[in-house]
């Protein structure tokens, strides 16, 4: 969906999305790392289960909500990507107690 300009010298970081091994760069947020890997959708809505993906990239729309290292409801566009992060699709509503 997005491609990286050739003049990006930053260090490569590895992370996973729903178990798939992916790479991005230091300086990416979780949301930009997903977009750079062609991932358009990162959650489904609690109301009707429809797929959504990052929309504003500036912290206002909350469409980029994902589960990061087991913690749900994280705004992917405000979280710096770190080496080894485990990112997962946030499916529907959050549960009050971890399953």
């Amino acid at each position: 969906m997005f491609r990286r300009l050739p003049d990006s010298p930053a260090e490569t970081l590895r992370f996973t999305f729903d178990g798939a091994a992916l790479t991005a760069r230091r300086g990416d947020t979780v949301a930009s790392a997903l977009l750079a890997n062609g991932i358009a959708s990162c959650r489904t809505t609690p109301a009707k289960g429809t797929p959504r993906g990052p929309y504003c990239l500036m912290g206002v729309c909350f469409e980029c909500l994902v589960t990061i290292d087991g913690t749900g409801n994280r705004q992917g566009c405000l979280v710096a990507l770190e080496e080894g992060m485990r990112v997962e699709t946030q499916a529907g509503a959050r549960r009050a107690v971890a399953p």
Binding site: L5, K48, T50, P51, P54, C61, E63
Partner: protein, 487 residues
Amino acid sequence: MKRITEAAQLEARYDLVIIGAGPAGQSAAIAAAGLGIATLVVDENLAPGGQIHRGITTTPVTDRAVLGADYWRGLPIAQRFLASAVDYAAGAKLFSLLPAGDEPGRHAEIELGVSIAGQARPVFAGQVIVATGAMERPFPIPGWTLPGVLTAGAAQIALKAHGLVPQGRVVLAGTGPLLLLVAAQLRAAGATITAVLDTTPAANRAGAARHVIDFLRSPYLGKGLSLLAKARGGPRRIAGVTGLRAEGEDRLRAVTFTAGGAAQRIEADVLLLHQGVVPNTVISNAIGCAHRWDDRQLCWVPIRDEWLLSSVEGVAIAGDGGGIAGAECAAESGTLAAIGAAHRLGRIDAAERDRRAAPVRAALERLGRGRGFLDALYRPAAADRVPAEDSTIVCRCEEITAGQLREAVAGGATGPNQLKAFLRCGMGPCQGRLCNLTVTEIVAQARGITPEQAGTYRLRPPFKPVTVAEIASLPQTNAAVKAVVRY
């Protein structure tokens, strides 16, 4: 500059807390530090610059021609900010702000709830400057929630902060100077743009004409000319676009619209929407600042005095969060707000305050000229603000449609707050950030009243979701316990 990376590094009290590190917040911090005021800057972004100068100290886009001179104007501000004697918490979350009060249980100073790296702390402040800037106006068209549809601002952020450009068939749609700027920047970065669909109503020109003299005397003129020059020879531009829709099942496949009397369809992988920017009033609304409906900019703006002080004691609002005026005005207004705060803190007397403020006010006057022209020329069409089709989603979080809203109004809901109770609109994680303007205008239209009479959602803290663990990490002081009990 002291970087705050953990909540434990925060002081218990600051003279001044500034929320946001865009041009307004940074300029306020520079001015405050120059006056020896103990200042904390809390920003949710990971680096200074706000959205307009996003990634200014970290951008991987090194060819200056790509982002342009206006973007790079942010660098000296950021450098001065980073060299100033303030505490700076980047990547931090402000979740509450309790105005000072003299009733029992209220602290005599403003109390803020700040969370950094999952740990929350209360911070007290003598004065606060809210500099949370602007966000893009909602553009509720059928299909705007499909993955693959983003705001033009999002694509600009992806480019500035991360060196990413959209690929595949990219369509931009909407109105406003930012739309043309993003198109030019993406093109300079090597993106292929399939089409720019211009929704600017042709009738706007007549309205803009009466502001033309101001515009010709304004700094906007030069910028506009260079933008038009860049746009020339650019991608296919289709004017007079109405009835825009995004189509696809689980992601965007095509954009359809009407132009020149003909229905058209363009296959697209990425659609970038934009119809202007509006103040981000989440904090000012949630803390109870009085607002008014600005009919020229079609949005809510906080009511402020000549020192940018809101109706809540000790809380000033600087930058585009107080009304859209652009980055240069935002920087000046940040300085002005800091001068006002310095006086209220007893650092400078009234004469000194007025002396320092005079050149800033002159700059604001000069830089603000021409804004009326832009507002009138790029006023988004009513049909692009209030969806005609009943099935169009207005509240993205709770998936509430324009039809449901109109039905609820017909059934007796009198305003946005009652609609919340009827439909849960505005009660998802974005707390109405992406639907409040649309809901206000739908109510106004359906009831035949003004937006001012229709009102808006009453927001409440926390401004951002906080986890139980964050709340539990608050130190067990009386003030902190009270803060928790209140929510």
